[in-house]
């Protein structure tokens, strides 16, 4: 129970950090913000790797593998598409097709 409260403390502080940091993101970047923060929520990959890696071969580890695949879609897709968008934001686009 003590452990739970300590984790709650961390959650609350991280929420404050999130609110303070995100309110500084300008509306121009709200779409990359969404896809980028999406990629961050793929952090659940940690749990997925642990679940899939127990090697027990039972239902739990099957769920783990699916979780790994899902989380990797989230991570790879999220960061890559964010990068693709942000690459387009230029102050003075030199090369125009």
């Amino acid at each position: 129970m003590e452990e739970l409260v300590i984790l709650l403390v961390i959650f609350v502080l991280a929420m404050f950090v999130g609110f303070e940091v995100i309110t500084k993101v300008p509306p121009t970047l709200h779409t990359p913000l969404m896809s980028g923060s999406n990629a961050i929520s793929g952090i659940t990959i940690i749990g997925a790797l642990l679940a899939a890696g127990r090697g027990s071969g039972d239902v739990a580890s099957i769920l783990g593998v699916i979780a790994v695949a899902f989380a990797m879609i989230n991570v790879v897709g999220g960061f890559m598409v964010t990068d693709r968008m942000l690459r387009m934001f230029k102050r003075r686009p030199e090369e125009r097709e």
Binding site: G36, A69, M80, M88
Partner: protein, 462 residues
């Protein structure tokens, strides 16, 4: 967990925070995204190396499949398809969190010794993750037009949802009391999926951006919950960051659309809006000034300052490249061109900026509503393309109007206003727009892309 791995997870979380901080300006944003992805790499490597992993085969299968699918998605998606893409990614994130919690529940030898709070957080994680997963898939379906975009309603809808919600709570309590009942756990997962479907299906396609923002927040909260389950601060911090981000975006969208967060959270979407479109604004006894391509081209070519107001119609017509072409033609003639971006322009928060950036519009010409509004009265021509509700002056003054109180772009204060749309039909809110009948407004009828192409041709001919 060894203290060293814990420090690595902390480092990963710090990378995410720093990455998000760098999103505060377009100039540093890309490096911020790199810092964030570095953090993720750190977390993954730390887990693989120090996580007491026994079997790598399954993991490799999952990683390869997931990375490939993710990379293909990221490379092939069109910028106009970004809302669907984000919805889909949300869904996978939420699904992964729910699956991890499920694996933890089913894990052999766990059942008996599991402490109360672990059982509770597992349930919450499955619940939130499940809702996020199925809700996001429905949102994706609506945006991709696989499912009808209209608000699906049926009798006793609210009663049914309320009952389902009550049943969920009962299930969670029941499972906390006697945890080792796998059948009921599966039922809980099923109910979560159903709840996700049923809460998104009654929402109209145009409201999807709010839904996506909210589901974005949920996917973060689900990850944080899973962090509570597996006692991992990395997941908790990252999840909280995403949760906060989604909530802020939801809130911004609500404000810009003149709805309350409560109205959104409690699923009353669309309900108030559905009746509105009955007030058609079609034929009216008021004169409307029309303008043709030649006159419009002349006005633009000799203007000193032009503000382009892109709306939903521009996105639909995919006319963003043609707009930029027009700007490229009139800028050398001495006009200063800026773009006024309303927070709900486009199909998701910030979407219009991405579309214009894709069309090579420099980001320092993109202005937020608060920045640009004081500039309209010094502007020669405001060119409104496929926007309607967000430029409706009635929102400022007419208390009986459903739009009243919604922040709008003050285009009516410009010297001349050219409105490009196909008809006098109302926009999303179904309300007539007095802007069209103003002295200084000229209507340019036609689909955005075709009209802009005509304009470009005329300006070239000048």
């Amino acid at each position: 967990m060894s203290p060293f791995v814990m420090l690595l997870y902390l480092a990963a979380a710090v990378c995410f925070i720093v990455g998000l901080k760098r999103l505060s300006s377009p100039a540093t944003a890309r490096s911020g995204n790199l810092v964030g992805s570095f953090g993720m790499l750190l977390a993954i490597v730390a887990t693989l190396v120090f996580g007491r992993i026994l079997s790598f085969q399954l993991i490799i299968v999952g990683v390869v499949i997931g990375s490939t699918v993710g990379a293909v998605f990221a490379r092939t998606v069109k910028m106009t398809g970004m809302p669907q893409m984000v919805a889909l990614l949300n869904g996978f994130g939420g699904g992964a969190s729910a699956l991890v919690a499920g694996a933890e529940f089913l894990r052999p030898m766990a059942g008996a010794t599991m402490p109360l709070n672990t059982v509770l957080t597992i349930q919450l994680s499955v619940l939130i993750g499940g809702v996020t997963f199925s809700g996001s898939l429905i949102a994706f379906g609506k945006l991709q037009e696989l499912v009808t975009g209209r608000a699906v309603t049926y009798p006793l809808q609210k009663t049914l949802n309320a009952l389902l919600f009550a049943a969920t709570i009962a299930l969670v309590v029941w499972l906390v009391i006697s945890p080792d009942q796998i059948t009921w756990f599966v039922v809980l997962a099923g109910v979560a999926l159903l709840l996700g479907v049923l809460s998104v299906i009654p929402i109209g396609g145009a409201d999807m951006p709010v839904v996506i923002s909210l589901l974005n927040s949920y996917s973060g909260i689900a990850a944080a919950m899973t962090g509570f389950v597996i006692n991992n601060h990395g997941l908790i911090i990252s999840g909280a960051l995403v949760g906060a981000s989604g909530l802020i975006l939801t809130n911004i969208m609500c404000k810009a659309m003149n709805r309350s967060l409560g109205n959104v959270l409690f699923g009353a979407f669309g309900a108030t809006m559905i009746e509105a479109p009955s007030i058609t604004g079609g034929a009216k006894d008021v004169t409307v000034r029309q303008v043709g391509p030649e006159d419009a081209a002349t006005m633009l070519a000799y203007a000193r300052s032009v503000i382009v107001v892109p709306g939903y119609g521009l996105a639909v017509a995919q006319a963003q490249h043609t707009v930029r072409e027009l700007a490229d033609l009139i800028e050398p003639r001495g006009a200063e061109v800026k773009y006024a971006i309303h927070p709900v322009a486009g199909r998701m928060p910030g979407h219009m900026n991405v579309l214009l950036a894709e069309a090579d519009v420099p980001y320092d010409k993109l202005r937020d509503m608060d920045q640009i509004n004081p500039e309209f009265d010094r502007c020669d021509v405001a060119l409104v393309i496929g926007a309607n509700d967000v430029v409706n002056p009635a929102a400022r003054s007419d208390k009986s109007n459903p739009l009243y109180g919604m922040p709008i772009l003050d285009v009516d204060k410009a010297q001349h206003v050219i409105v490009m749309k196909r008809s006098l039909n109302p926009g999303f809110a179904g309300v007539d727009n007095p802007l069209f009948y103003l002295e200084n407004t000229s209507m340019f009828f036609g689909s955005a892309k075709a009209s802009l192409e005509k304009l470009v041709a005329e300006v070239k001919a000048l």
